[in-house]
């Protein structure tokens, strides 16, 4: 039962992801872009952040950077969810401190496993 922030600008994907997480029993905070995501990350204690990379305004990397800069949010497990499959991007994401990098389309089984792993104890 974790509090998960979903930062995704594509409406359908955000909705599906939120639905899935809720059906899994988690509580979900939705953000429509990077700025929105940062704001919502500060507002409530979070157990996990799922964040898209390519968004208008702040992209996923910038969001992670900003979160890491703030003591409040720097320890929150962060996962990139992106349609970019370039190996460099995955490595970069992990290097930056993300716990995982999930490529779209993701299957829910794997997603479930990942979330469970990352939110154990929550």
């Amino acid at each position: 039962m974790a509090n998960i922030l979903v930062v995704e600008d594509e409406t359908d994907i955000r909705n599906n992801l939120a639905r899935f997480l809720r059906l899994e029993g988690h509580s979900v905070v939705e953000a429509v872009d990077g700025i929105d995501g940062l704001a919502k990350a500060q507002s409530a204690p979070l157990d996990l952040i799922l964040c898209d990379i390519s968004m208008p305004g702040l992209n996923g990397y910038a969001v992670l950077e900003k979160l890491q800069a703030s003591p409040q949010t720097c320890d929150i497990p962060f996962v990139f969810v992106s349609a970019s499959v370039e190996p460099g991007k995955q490595a970069r994401g992990v290097e930056m401190g993300a716990k995982a990098y999930v490529t779209k389309p993701f299957n829910l089984v794997a997603m479930r496993e990942l979330i469970n792993r990352l939110t154990q104890g929550a």
Binding site: T11, I13, N16, R19, F20, S54, M55, V85, P105, F106
Partner: protein
Amino acid sequence: MNFSAASWRAVASLRRIPIRLRFYLLAGVNVAMVALLLVLFSRYEAAQENLQDSQTRMQQLDLTLRTLQSDGNRLQALIRQYIDRPEPGAQEAATRLGKSLYDRVGESAMAHADLRGPLQSAQAAVSVLVSSFDHLVTLNTRIQTSYESGILNTGRDASSRFARLSESLTGSQKAQIAKTYEVFVEALLSLNAFYFHPDTANADQARNSLERVEASLNLLSAAAPAGAQRDALLALTARARDIDTSLTRLEQLLLERSGMMRVDVGVSAERLTAISDTLLADNQRRQATLREQHLAERRGVIVILLVLAVLVAGLGLYSSWLIARSVQQPLVELMGSVNALAAGNLHHDVRGADAPDELGTLAQTLQTLKTGALARQQAEAAMRLSEEHYRNVVDNIPETIVIVRGDRMIFANPRATELTGLPTPELLSRPFLSLIHPDDAAMVAERHRRRMSGEPVERYTQFRLLRPGGDFLWVESSAVAVTWDDQPATLAFLGDLTERRRAEESVRAALEQQKELNELRSRFIAMASHEFRTPLSTILSSAELLRDYDDKLPAAEKRDILRGIENGVQRMASLLNDVLTVGRVESGKIEFHPARLTLKTFCQSVIAEVMRSESRQGRGDRQVNLHVEETAAAVLDEQLLRHVLGNLLSNAIKYSPPQGGVQLTVSALAGGIEFTVADGGIGIPDEDLPHLFDTFHRGRNARNVPGTGLGLAIAKKAVEIHGGTIAVDSSVGKGTRVTVTLPAGG
């Protein structure tokens, strides 16, 4: 054999003798000719002399003879003179002359063998004459003696006796004695006369007188007493008788003399005269004959000598001519050859090279020289041709070639002037470093130094050339060390790098562009992948949700989820369409189907479609304002135009803030329609404006906004197919205005 052939053969033979010897021969011939002529002349002279001698001899002989004759005559004259007056002077002279004449005649006889006979006769005659004369002289002497002693002395004696007697007598005796003495004196006078003119009258007279004297004396003596007187008278009478006797003797002598004179002297004198006359006459005749002979001889000699002289001279001159010709002819020929060759006619045939003499050798040498010159000429021609080829290459090589020795260029081909902008003389006069950009000069100088000292050095050097206008030109030099006139130098090709740099630049640019294009393509692929993955993700997650949580999902949620799938599929279909369209556009396979179009309706439908798509992407709240002139109508391809306007509108919406409105304006122009899409969005950076319509291009500030970069490219192509134009006016932060102008068509 005719003359010229003979001459030719003679000349040919002469040419076997070396020229030096020929000249000696010539000298010899001339000397011989002169000598022979001299000999002939001397022969002539000799003949002349002989003649002269002979004549002189003749003349001398004549003279001698004449002298002899005149001397003979003079001798005769002298003798006669002597006979006339027998004085010792005349005798001496005659004797002397006679002797000398005798001697001289003897000499002449010895000298003139042919006249010896007559001359000896003459000499004999002279001898006879002389001896006759001698006899005559002796006789004269005897006569004189006889007269002087017999008559004169006796007469004187008698005279003195008479005188004495007369003294001793007196009277009539004295008178008788005196008278007798007178008669005695008459007798003496007659005797004297007889002595000097011995004619009988004087003799008779004398005798007569003497007889009277004798008679008288006899009388006297008979009458005179014995004694002194008588003795004296007897003595006188004796004397008278002596005188008479002497007279008789004198008469005899005189007779003898006369006979001698007449005979001995006269005859021999006549003889002498005759001989000498004969001699003289003969001599004269002979002289005349001889002169004739000599003259004839001389004429003959002259003729012969003349002929010989002409022959000798002719031969001499001919030989000289041959010898001269043997030198002159080949010499002239050689001169001709030399002139021809000097004038440049190297194909002239040098003749006479086979002759055995020096001129033949010279001709041979000339031939060799000619061959050499010809070969050299051909070599030169070949070399000139080769040089021409090389020069052709060097001059036309579209590269600059220079040779640098020391600190300046010593050779620059014509292209160098084009490259450097300086005429060749100036190029060669300046230090080459002065032509190089100061920033590059040090490097160029260093490399040059290393090359000149044999150190390894880069072959290619790039530097800037300073041009007269102050601008510079990038060149690349390819240099090697060479030897030029035995000195180290650098041979360098200078190539204008401008083109190459530009080419490199353009290649780099093309590569850049290609890279960019590849990048864009990669990005497109990434983006396309991203774009495809997004709806795929929606579809998959939707499907999985429906599958796994079917029972837990309310119907409204399920409908949402299904709509999500629908959206995703449509989005993918649209994307695929775009990609395919781009492909078609790139390969030029777009079809153009113009049709009459009602613009207002059309625009409204386009706007509706765009809004549908945008709202699917969460931008359903945007506004598009449409303004269409009622009269606007056109014949256009609907599908293409739909692409264009759809793309422009969706761009305007995508890149604009929510509150910013988008304006679509359609107006009619002369012969065309103008569509304008304006927004107040993020604008397009200046650097992206030129690349706006490039396939896959995405503005730098649009990286984070989903998009394929295909839309504008397709739009531009579509506009072009209509024959229209598309223009963009934009600045960052202020918005964008895109204007499409299409011909009305129809």
